[in-house]
Symmetry: D3
Subunit: 238 residues, 6 copies
Amino acid sequence: MARIDGRSADQLRPVTLTRQWLDHAEGSVLVEFGRTRVLCAASVTEGVPRWRKGSGLGWVSAEYAMLPRSTNTRSDRESVKGRIGGRTHEISRLIGRSLRAVIDYKALGENTILLDCDVLQADGGTRTAAITGAYVALADAVSWLRDRKLLKSEPLTGSVSAVSVGIIDGTPMLDLCYEEDVRAETDMNLVITGEGKFIEVQGTAEGAPFDRAELDSLLELGTAGCLELTKLQQEALS
Amino acid sequence: MARIDGRSADQLRPVTLTRQWLDHAEGSVLVEFGRTRVLCAASVTEGVPRWRKGSGLGWVSAEYAMLPRSTNTRSDRESVKGRIGGRTHEISRLIGRSLRAVIDYKALGENTILLDCDVLQADGGTRTAAITGAYVALADAVSWLRDRKLLKSEPLTGSVSAVSVGIIDGTPMLDLCYEEDVRAETDMNLVITGEGKFIEVQGTAEGAPFDRAELDSLLELGTAGCLELTKLQQEALS
Amino acid sequence: MARIDGRSADQLRPVTLTRQWLDHAEGSVLVEFGRTRVLCAASVTEGVPRWRKGSGLGWVSAEYAMLPRSTNTRSDRESVKGRIGGRTHEISRLIGRSLRAVIDYKALGENTILLDCDVLQADGGTRTAAITGAYVALADAVSWLRDRKLLKSEPLTGSVSAVSVGIIDGTPMLDLCYEEDVRAETDMNLVITGEGKFIEVQGTAEGAPFDRAELDSLLELGTAGCLELTKLQQEALS
Amino acid sequence: MARIDGRSADQLRPVTLTRQWLDHAEGSVLVEFGRTRVLCAASVTEGVPRWRKGSGLGWVSAEYAMLPRSTNTRSDRESVKGRIGGRTHEISRLIGRSLRAVIDYKALGENTILLDCDVLQADGGTRTAAITGAYVALADAVSWLRDRKLLKSEPLTGSVSAVSVGIIDGTPMLDLCYEEDVRAETDMNLVITGEGKFIEVQGTAEGAPFDRAELDSLLELGTAGCLELTKLQQEALS
Amino acid sequence: MARIDGRSADQLRPVTLTRQWLDHAEGSVLVEFGRTRVLCAASVTEGVPRWRKGSGLGWVSAEYAMLPRSTNTRSDRESVKGRIGGRTHEISRLIGRSLRAVIDYKALGENTILLDCDVLQADGGTRTAAITGAYVALADAVSWLRDRKLLKSEPLTGSVSAVSVGIIDGTPMLDLCYEEDVRAETDMNLVITGEGKFIEVQGTAEGAPFDRAELDSLLELGTAGCLELTKLQQEALS
Amino acid sequence: MARIDGRSADQLRPVTLTRQWLDHAEGSVLVEFGRTRVLCAASVTEGVPRWRKGSGLGWVSAEYAMLPRSTNTRSDRESVKGRIGGRTHEISRLIGRSLRAVIDYKALGENTILLDCDVLQADGGTRTAAITGAYVALADAVSWLRDRKLLKSEPLTGSVSAVSVGIIDGTPMLDLCYEEDVRAETDMNLVITGEGKFIEVQGTAEGAPFDRAELDSLLELGTAGCLELTKLQQEALS
């Protein structure tokens, strides 16, 4: 079955990871999954949030947001509305959890790394692009700390990437663009380590509930996609 | 391996579903999973949200909240803080999606059913208890509409229940209480139809990433647990 | 004149005070005045608000809220609206003031007791039920402190209960249910000590202004009602 | 017993009611109770709030606020804090209710009169000064409507004034200034019609609970004070 | 060309500066530019904002607000809306900057002076009246500090006043009232020291863009107006 | 005198205007003034704000914001803080006013063009870069409307650009970078039409007040700079 943009079912969109896109941030990556474009900036600060002070442990968190005209139809700014929406909260939390899964807090020491993931243009898969790009920005921020001898030992215990998968007209497909995402009966986001283990599995039946066989095929497709993204991350960082 | 409360690894906590706990609501259930106690109230209103008007289709959504002293340590009220937290948003959205998966909007007609799930006491699994109880309150609200001849046809296309599963010290366990939840390396919430198909699969590595074999064992344990809950829902409704 | 529910003019609705309704709170009471049902939870914390630190004096305060479907027609959550309404503020302050009237701050020491009064079901008199129940939860929280030897001396200087009275079609009546409350020309809430002294007198002409004779008859009716509630509190606590 | 400012126990502070203090408002009064100074502005608008449309009935409401430096120590602005405090809400509601008690909605027709009561300087009794002044501004706004032939019949069914009373060192006193208010064991605000009937009775034990005899003496003192204020209102309006 | 109120093009409205309008504030001025009436209150507090602590330097800032019925049509309160509008922010910042331009932070020592400028009645030029009046209140607050020997040396390095100018039907005019302000093609606010130097120049083309010659004529008109205001300030303070 | 980056006093930083940087927006420009980088997106919607409906006139407005890590030190998101700061409000209003100065509302018809100006990287002059880039995005959005025959006549009555000027160590300089901006004694932003007329003149003494001669030199320097920017805009659009 041909996809909208001519890809095969198990093919990623063209992915680019442009490091050092910003001059000020300790790590920064412009990540593109096709037309989806997310700017990931890592900010290092000495110290940790209050509830963690004196523990000797570091902290990593993330904030996700979309520019108002990143989408086809303009959305109101959350700053203007005066409150952050549920979707934004949910994705910020997901990115933070995903990155923390490969961090050794003790090795990081009492430092905080905050990842800002701002969607400049959205065409499906913004949260998975954000995680994939944020990992690279995080790695650069860790290098920045290492170069300044601010680390006791290596805080990165592995790498992390993410991809969406979905079932469209009965066919499991990898890395959905917006048009596909809207049509998908089932939609799943997978966050996976460089060694192919799961950090997050989030599957949702948008239409009919899905059975175990469908779930299995999505898990396989997504795992393969993430391993490809892992390679692209390694190339970008080398 | 013995569990804190003496259960076996694949055993649910005592579950009760008390219908008509409130006098005003079109459907209401006090659901208990052990010491976790959630009050689910279904409110029927004629009409649908603005963006759906004139479509002939109904709508179902949910709001989740915790009483400040439902937990061991008191939490500040979100009304006092002036904003709803990310976790509250996330769970409200999950409950809504889960219930909509078994609703035929056309049969519901332009009516809205809103499920309020207020946690009176929390001991782990509040979101899964809420979904399990809210389904029963939803069914009662649908009956209320049916009794008043306000439905074209049957809007419920199936039933839905939910349960948490997790891996503790390497052992997959069903329906975690708070103390187990805190200790779990991996934590998964499953929302499943009465026929055993998946509506939501949300797994998170809290500690080490998990592999495919662990994921498979959790899926099986949770599916079995949900089918038990389905039976309890059927009994409550009959 | 017969009342809607068959009571005589000077008769309370059936009142129940169920202690230890919650497992976590230092004191908790489910109070029922007829169909009005309020969950009162007392939370003890060491220390006092910033403006009171170092004074050697304790603090007691209260927060009141209604579940969205406690009423006949669902109300929007104040957390969703992002602000607390005037009525909620007013009642929270009233409950706090009422309880503080029977507290010896010095004997309490630098401890804070916060009373959460959440209306699960509303049928008139929610604020008076809340005060009556909260006193019992407060007494339990004080016992909790006493049992742990955290008190210098007895902080409770008396007991407190509350009831509504009103004039309907010219007749003064005790403990109005919602339907009566709506019809009342004059509405008064009385907060009274166990010894029959006044803590709060809040009378409002909803229709025509009232004269001194009417005021006097309401004060007598309410005082008698509160003394009955005092007995029920003593029974519950013994 | 001599009072701080030399008054006798049953004596009001010097009261002035300056009409037309503003050029734009349909009614405006600068009311002074001693050093307490409140600017009351009445705004007339055609139409009523949405929930009242088509009823043929008018509406009157009020908003109370304090300038940040009206008090001895500067308070933060509620606009800066982003939320209105409980005390502000409570007093706004009280003023609105008090004025509505002397309004015939039908005679007013579908017009709204909003009373803004802004405290320019506070020295105790701001809410009672606000009610007393707002009544005069309201009367002027009604005249404004009458002059333009916008009224069916007379909407004012009476006049309203308010005063505080309290017990200090065992002595009941009228119209407390700030310093007295702070020292009062019992504090009561009375809102009374020009004919001496009660609209609101709000008594609070700040220290020890008060008995019926004390309550009676306060009611008498306040009633007399209000009747004096009524005369001053009549003079101002004539 | 005759102006609405009969003034010549280069004539100020009648200006009054009434000092000590409030009893509590360390400095207070009721400033009137014609019908525009602004209450300026200076509040002195020991200490400085957190970001300035330990620097040995003082701080001056300002907050501007309009009473809801200061204008011809009532505006909603910003406290009720829960957020401060852009215009309010902008003017508060302008007043603060203008006053800070004549303050020697070192001489002030670690003290803060906050100027509250509340518009009681608005008829154009509220921000320029506010700056002109706030300077006098600031001078009084500085005297208050001086009298209490709380200053190292003189913190006031000069005086500051402000006026609006505009072009109406091609004619440059001084100190616009509201009706003129609405009709002006170009509108400029000038903040000038007592010695005629510029602190702020804010010109805006409301209609057609303006050329250099027009800009020059406005600068001259405004400078002359401010020097007149300077004299009135000196008289008020002497 | 040599500038930090080797420029002469009257020299702009390298300026680029990259059109069509986004796929969805009706006009979009990435504008760079040296390291300052602002993404300007124009969104066209049919219809106008409520207060303008039925007038036959169009509307143009703008929203400005900074990404949290656009600056050297990360700033908190305004969406997280729940309120928009004064500076953001001020600049959004300035951009909107500047663009409206070259719009014929009648020719635009009842259409709205909203310009989102998001600062991706900040190094001084973000508001002037935003205005300069937003004009180009606006021109593209107008072309988009023209191509779809949605315009009655030409709504653009001219072009607009903006630049900052300032006095550093006594020398007037054009287009300040961040480091220069911080050191400037006087700071001015000029918004000028393609024909060299003034739309906005905003000068502020950051240190000592400035005299007329200094003001004149800044006006000349800025005017020349804007005419250069006008040429770059014309090239970009041709």
